[in-house]
Structure formats: structure tokens, C-alpha cells
């Protein structure tokens, strides 16, 4: 059996009467690009929220990198190396792009409200600058250096998505959760984004769990795809196998056969 970084076991989640997730189990192999797809309201984001700690599932367990994280607070999961981006952008709107990304370093830094303010007389300055250097590398990598000092809330949608990715990368995660990273982007930008995702997967060795509606992207870059429908896991496995599934075709893709072949 391959080494899996994330193990989700029989997770169920309901909001009042709405069953967002019902008994979902899956494993994400270390180093994989794992995609979750499914119709709107299927519970994809809810699944991500369970993994990153925003929601606490009513049943089931989640293991991450050998730890049982089911009951951990979200910030403790960050310490363990879990980063994420959000479907409805969740940047710190009034902070500069740089500071946004620096917040990602929070759990890696040590200076606090007593040593930080003594800036020049404590190790704080050195620490800040060291982390700044690493953050700049991420900024270069994602090509957002031109907006480094801009206020994040004023950026255009696509740029904000990229800053979110940078912020998540700054956490030095072992696994990164991406919620529709390419929504609202045109083809060209999707290509860039796909490139970034592949690079951070291949070069930095970060496991990627991604929700995405663009089938082209999903098919091309993921190692494994899972389909959720009405909170239940429909199928998972190799992208080609999943796409060929009748259920998936009808319930989700809405593609007729010829179109599907064309796309594949």
C-alpha cells in the first residue's frame, strides 16, 4: 500500500436537515494531485472544511500525516503542514499582499508581542528579514511581485486567487487544499495556474487536494479523481476511468458521448 498523507474515514456532516456529507472515505497518497469534483452543492467545500478544521464532522475520523486531526483546531492543523485557499476569496482585504503572505509564516516564526516590538534589540529583525526573503521567493515564483505592496482587497479577482495561493504556500505545507483555484480565469491564466500547481507539486513535493470544475484541467493534471454527489462518494480513481463512468457523465458533466471522447 502506498504511503497516504491524508486518510478520511467514514466522515458524515449535516447542517440541521441538510446532509452535506454522508459516510465519505478516501485516502490521498503522499505527493499526489488529488481532485474532488461533483455537482454544485455536492459537499466538496464542506469536505475541505472538515479536513482543514472549519467544520467538525459528526461522525468519522481524519488522519493527516500520521496524526488524528479530527478534533484539532484549524490553527493546529496549519502547524502540522496543511495549507489551503478558499472558494469565496478570503484574503486579509486591508493588508498589503506582502503582509498577507507573511501571515502565512506566522506559525513558523517565534517573535511575539514582547520581542517583536523590541525589533532592533531582539532577534526579531533577523527573523522577520529571513522570512521575508523566503516569502519573496514565493512572490517571484507566482509572479506577483508587481503587486507586492498593493492592498489585497483592491486586486482583481484572478490576482487575488494567486495571492491566496502564495499565502497558502508560505505556510510551508506538506499538503495544500485548493478550492476552485481556476474559477474566474481565462484559458491563458488557467494554463499558468496549472503550471504553478504542477510545479509546487513536483518541485516542492507538496500534495495537492483540489476542487475544480474545469474538466480539462482535472483530467490533465490529477493523479486521482473523486466524485461527490449529494454528499456521497460516487466513485474515485484514475481520471480516465472516472470520466468514463456513466453516472458521472450524466449527473455532472452532462456530456454526450462524442463530446466526451473529443475532450478526452
Amino acid at each position: 500500500m502506498t504511503d497516504s498523507i491524508l486518510k478520511v474515514e467514514h466522515v458524515s456532516l449535516a447542517f440541521g436537515g441538510v446532509k452535506a456529507l454522508t459516510d465519505v472515505s478516501f485516502e490521498v497518497p503522499r505527493g499526489a494531485v488529488f481532485s474532488i469534483i461533483g455537482p454544485n452543492g455536492a459537499g466538496k467545500t464542506s469536505m475541505l472544511n472538515c479536513i482543514s478544521g472549519r467544520y467538525r464532522p459528526q461522525a468519522g475520523a481524519i488522519h493527516f500525516d500520521g496524526h488524528d486531526v479530527t478534533r484539532l483546531r484549524p490553527n493546529d492543523r496549519a502547524d502540522l503542514g496543511m495549507g489551503r485557499t478558499f472558494q469565496n476569496l478570503a484574503l486579509f482585504g486591508h493588508m498589503s499582499v506582502l503582509d498577507n503572505i507573511m501571515v502565512g509564516r506566522h506559525h513558523l516564526m517565534k517573535n511575539n508581542w514582547l520581542t517583536g516590538p523590541l525589533y532592533w534589540f531582539s532577534p526579531a529583525q533577523k527573523e522577520e528579514l529571513a522570512h521575508r526573503r523566503e516569502v519573496e521567493e514565493i512572490i517571484d515564483f507566482l509572479e506577483i511581485s508587481h503587486v507586492r505592496k498593493a492592498v489585497a482587497g483592491n486586486l482583481s479577482y484572478g490576482l487575488r486567487k494567486r495571492v491566496e495561493l502564495a499565502r497558502a504556500m508560505a505556510l510551508k505545507p506538506k499538503m495544500i487544499l485548493l478550492d476552485e483555484p481556476m474559477a474566474g480565469m481565462n484559458l491563458e491564466e488557467k494554463e499558468d495556474m496549472a503550471r504553478y500547481i504542477l510545479d509546487l507539486n513536483e518541485e516542492f513535493g507538496i500534495t495537492v487536494v483540489m476542487i475544480e470544475h474545469d474538466m480539462g484541467v482535472v483530467m490533465d493534471i490529477s493523479h486521482e479523481v473523486m466524485v461527490l454527489d449529494f454528499g456521497k462518494k460516487l466513485i474515485s480513481g484514475d481520471p480516465d476511468v472516472v470520466m468514463a463512468d456513466e453516472h458521472v457523465k450524466r449527473a455532472y458533466l452532462g456530456l454526450e458521448d462524442e463530446q466526451l471522447q473529443e475532450a478526452g
Partner: protein, 357 residues
């Protein structure tokens, strides 16, 4: 937090250290240093009236910065800052008289004690948000005020408690001229401390919590810790400010630390600009000088023909109060983002002149 627009055109940084500075340019740093040097000579140049105004600005300004850290940076409105300020004043006096701790130590200790109390009352912040929290702090205001009147052992009850002047190596800072230096030092120290806080780890965490606490938590920021800590730090500042106030006056009375004072602090912070360290000081100067300037205006009125008619003279007091209200209203209508924002825009304009865009 410097932004691109704040720098003069054509100023390029060559190292991250330069880029991280709290002074946007070398000129500004030089100006700041020069200003402090100049300020040191004030007691020989200015009379006690100006000095007392400055001293007021310093202790109120320190407390106001604390409130801005809470309201502006962490996004938690507090209506109880006046009470924390008072607590600091009593605490310092109490420690000094009760345990004979030298005043120089009492002041920071009072800060820490107030911090403890602030965190106690900040505890609801873990669960309560926004305006609900604001009203919870209003409860703190009234509870602490009541405590002052009740706790004879701590505050002296209705008789109040006395506070020794600050003394260092046998020298007592008991005149305006000498206390001025204490005030100046405290002001510069606390403001630098605040500026540095905001550009280091915990300061960023505060702002992150304000802007989007859900995602901040997922980014690894301990939400409750920072919510509480910002109450703590803000009360710490209030405590320091209050302690300075106590040792300047030499006497603390349970009167005066009312909701009005809390509101006044809030006004300083909002008029100065939420989330701006510089702005806080500007707002404080504004709020301290406003009644003085208006009083000056009233004084001038009194010297004219009108000054002999008591009805007019008595009306002036109300006019003055109304003017204070009106100035606040007009100011916010025209400058809702505060003085810091205007300052920024003026600078932007001149820095990039004539290339305004």
C-alpha cells in the same frame, strides 16, 4: 505598513531591511529624530500651559494607541477604555503606597496589572463579536467604575488615593518641566513599541484576525489567543497612560473615568484613523487641542463688546460644546477615514507631483 504609493517616486529599495523600516524614507527618519531633539528643548522654550497640554497628549495618546490596537488593528470595539485608564492610575498609586515600590517600577507594573484586568474582561471576546462585544465592554466600563467607588482598599473610595511623583536617583519629577521628559520618553517609547509591533508577527496576526478571522485561523493564527491578547495589550497601554496621569496629578479620584472618557478615546482613534499608529497621535492632538482652541475662541469673544452681556457669555459654553460635537461630525463627513488617510493623500500628491497619476 508602507505601501508603494507612500514612497517618493524613484525611491527604490535595495534590501528587505530598508523596505521593512517604519520610517518611509531617510528624510522622515531624520526629521523624526530632529523632532525629538527639538522636543527635548521644549521646557526651556514653552510655558507650563503648553507643557501641560503636551503631557496630556502623551498620557492620553499612549492610552489611545492601545485602543487603536484593539479597535483599529484587531477590529474589536471597546467602550471601556476609560475605565482601564482609571484602573492603571489607581493600580500604580496603590502599589506605590501599599508596597512601597518605587514609582518608576509602579508605572510598568500598573500596565501589566491593567493588562490582566483587561484580559479578564476581554474573555468574552472569544465568543462575542462586533457590537455585541462593544456593549460587553460597556458593561466592563460600568463594573470597573463601580469597583472604584466601592473598593476602599484599592482606590481609597470617595477620598481617592494619592500618587507620589516619579523619582529617579533621588530626583523627583514633580514639576511640569521635569515631568515633561518622563512623558516624552514614555510617548516615544510606547509609539515605537506600537509601530514595531505592527510590523512584526503578532501585529500582523491582529490585523489578520480583524480582516478575516476564519481564514486567519486556518493560516495558523490562534484566534482566541490574539483576541484576548489585543485586549491585554490595549489595556496595557491604557494602564501605562493612566499611571502617568496619576503620578502627574499626584492624586487619583474615582471621578472622571467615565463612559465619556471612553468615548473620547474612541473619538481620538477614529478621527486619527483606525489602524494607524501615526493617526492615533494626530487624533489625540486634535481632541486635546479642540476644546482649548475653542476656549481660546470663546475667550476672544468675551473680549469684544459681547463679552459684557452675561447671557451671551453663558451661551458661549454651550456653543463651545456644540462646536465640539459639530467639528467631530463635520470632520467625519469630510474625512471619514481619519487624519492619517488625509495625511497620506497629501503626501501622495506631493511626492509624485507633477505626475499625479
Amino acid at each position: 505598513m508602507s505601501s508603494l504609493a507612500m514612497r517618493p517616486c524613484g525611491d527604490f529599495r535595495t534590501s528587505y531591511k530598508q523596505d521593512n523600516t517604519i520610517f518611509e524614507t531617510g528624510t522622515i527618519r531624520a526629521l523624526a529624530v530632529a523632532f525629538i531633539a527639538l522636543a527635548c528643548s521644549a521646557p526651556w522654550v514653552l510655558d507650563a500651559y503648553y507643557l501641560t497640554l503636551f503631557i496630556q497628549i502623551s498620557y492620553l495618546g499612549i492610552a489611545a494607541l492601545g485602543l487603536n490596537i484593539l479597535v483599529g488593528f484587531t477590529g474589536q470595539i471597546s467602550l471601556g477604555h476609560g475605565a482601564f485608564f482609571g484602573f492603571g492610575a489607581f493600580a500604580s498609586a496603590w502599589m506605590n503606597t501599599q508596597f512601597n515600590i518605587p514609582v518608576v517600577f509602579c508605572i510598568p507594573l500598573a500596565g501589566f496589572l491593567t493588562m490582566g484586568v483587561g484580559m479578564m474582561f476581554g474573555m468574552p471576546a472569544a465568543r462575542i463579536k462586533g457590537l455585541y462585544l462593544a456593549i460587553a465592554t460597556l458593561a466592563a466600563q460600568f463594573i470597573i467604575e463601580d469597583f472604584f467607588a466601592r473598593a476602599e482598599w484599592f482606590s481609597g473610595g470617595s477620598a481617592g488615593s494619592m500618587a507620589e511623583p516619579v523619582s529617579l536617583f533621588g530626583f523627583a519629577f514633580d514639576t511640569d518641566e521635569s515631568f515633561y521628559f518622563i512623558a516624552l520618553f514614555a510617548l516615544v517609547f510606547m509609539y515605537l513599541w506600537g509601530s514595531n509591533l505592527m510590523r512584526s508577527r503578532d501585529g500582523r496576526a491582529f490585523v489578520a484576525v480583524r480582516d478575516h478571522y476564519l481564514s486567519a485561523e486556518i493560516m495558523g493564527v490562534k484566534l482566541n489567543k490574539y483576541r484576548l491578547l489585543s485586549f491585554g495589550i490595549s489595556s496595557f497601554y491604557a494602564g501605562i497612560g493612566g499611571a502617568l496621569y496619576a503620578h502627574y496629578l499626584g492624586y487619583v479620584s474615582a471621578e472622571g473615568f467615565t463612559i465619556l472618557m471612553s468615548v473620547q478615546f474612541l473619538a481620538m482613534v477614529i478621527i486619527g484613523g483606525l489602524g494607524s499608529v501615526k493617526g492615533t497621535l494626530m487624533g489625540c492632538v486634535f481632541m486635546v487641542l479642540l476644546p482649548e482652541v475653542l476656549e481660546g475662541g470663546v475667550g476672544l469673544m468675551k473680549q469684544t463688546e459681547w463679552g459684557n452681556i452675561p447671557q451671551v457669555v453663558d451661551g458661549l459654553a454651550y456653543l463651545k460644546e456644540m462646536a465640539i460635537g459639530l467639528v467631530i461630525i463635520l470632520f467625519l463627513i469630510f474625512e471619514p477615514q481619519g487624519l492619517a488617510h488625509r495625511w497620506q493623500q497629501i503626501k501622495n500628491y506631493w511626492k509624485c507631483y507633477p505626475f499625479a497619476y
